[in-house]
């Protein structure tokens, strides 16, 4: 398992989760956990995913997610989980 965190932030609209999850399903990225909220009109989602079985390279994943983000007016970022674990866990 190779865990990564996907964050999606932007103006709320219909179909953001659908769009992101469809893409992830197509590329065989397994979603382990989702939390999502709206803060003063802004859509804010965090997903923990497993990219070990992904059919595209990590590089490509990051690039394509960014592109999807720009299509739906959100900023989408993918980062390997380690950076958060290192920073917040001893």
């Amino acid at each position: 398992m190779k865990k990564a965190i996907i964050t999606v932030i932007g103006q709320d609209r219909v179909g953001i989760i659908a769009k992101v999850c469809t893409y992830l399903a197509e590329k065989r990225v397994n979603v382990l956990d989702i939390s999502q909220t709206i803060v003063s009109g802004y859509f804010n989602m965090m997903m923990i995913v497993d990219v070990a079985q992904a059919e595209v390279s990590y590089d490509m994943l990051a690039e394509q997610l960014e592109e999807i983000g720009s299509q739906i007016g959100c900023v989408i970022k993918i980062q390997l989980e380690d950076i958060f674990n290192m920073m917040h866990r001893i």
Partner: protein
Amino acid sequence: MLNRSEIIETNQMIEKENLDVRTITLGISLLDCIDSDLGRLNEKIYQKITTVAKELVSTGEEISKEYGIPIVNKRISVTPVALVGACACRSKEDFVSIAKTLDRAARQVGVNFIGGYSALVAKGMTAADRLLMESIPEALAATERICSSVNLGSTRTGINMDAVRLMGSIICETAKRTGDRDSCGCAKLVVFCNAPDDNPFMAGAFHGVTEADAVINVGVSGPGVVKKALEKARGQSFEVLCETIKKTAFKITRVGQLVAKRASEMLGVPFGIVDLSLAPTPAVGDSVAEILQEIGLEYPGAPGTTAALALLNDQVKKGGVMASSYVGGLSGAFIPVSEDQGMIDAVNIGCLTLEKLEAMTCVCSVGLDMIAVPGDTKDTTIAGIIADEMAIGMVNQKTTAVRLIPVFGKGVGDTAEFGGLLGYAPIMPVNSFSCDTFVNRTGRIPAPIHSFKN
């Protein structure tokens, strides 16, 4: 399981508070390139650097993508060239040819700086050391990416005053040779006392002779993150203030440790150290001066500055040491003038002087750094300033450095522009009373009594 606020906190640091990995520096030993034939030596140096560092830049970019954190610089440090070239170089020009080779190799692998055009002369100079030092003005004028450093003293050996005097004139000469570019050659030339072997930061990076064949050293930075965290500690006690800095430094350094380990794995090169420095840039919100202001000073330079800086430096180390398995380099707060907008403002408003900066260097990690002084400053005055700074390092068993830029053709009231990361600086007045008779004495200042620890 990670929670939302932790993820938001990390990303906020990266996106809004300028958290970044300042540099991945690949140290490369050139000792196995030594040859008595200059042509062969140059060829071997070029081959070794372009082979070992081939993947450095792409690896840095890949790690940056994996974790979503900027890695600003990818750099190389090499064995001090005075040692590498000693066998082949018979003249200054011979050494300059090595500088050009290093520059070419740096361009080939895509790094913006390569450090190690250096000599270690804390106790004495060999003929090669002297030639290298004399070749520095030409080497820095003829190249783009070379950084040069000279170690002039140490707590164990004392201060080599002959070399200090020589470097006073070399700095002035370098300023003249690069006079058409606001003497920017001097921004790539630093002199040290107690120079560390594993410093990843330019201009002082070189690959010490006690190091392995190749090693990865990483420098992290995040003055903006510390500043932001301290905003929440306004009006609180020193205990709260120190705890806040410590915890923040821990988090910043952990990122450096992660990146260093990853780079080491990917490049197949051993991990050396993480340098936990707070290194500012000219960008707004990336300033050590602003941290000092947040601690409670109107401007850096005001009474209390040295104490505030001492506290900051110590807490950064305390927080950082636990975050990394190996800590080294300079590790502390940097106070370069030209690279820190807050420092520039403090100089312009008349709050920060050269003398106060000297006092500040007693308690922080480097020294008189990136300070522009009038172009007509005498060689001996520069040497005197260097001697003072070396004495602080020698007596306090710490690294100190001097990177002064006597800006050719400019005086107090003018501004020097170095461009990019090197920034710009108002020209500061220098005490012009003479120290000629002192500086012109020959020999060295003996090591202090507390160096005899055996």
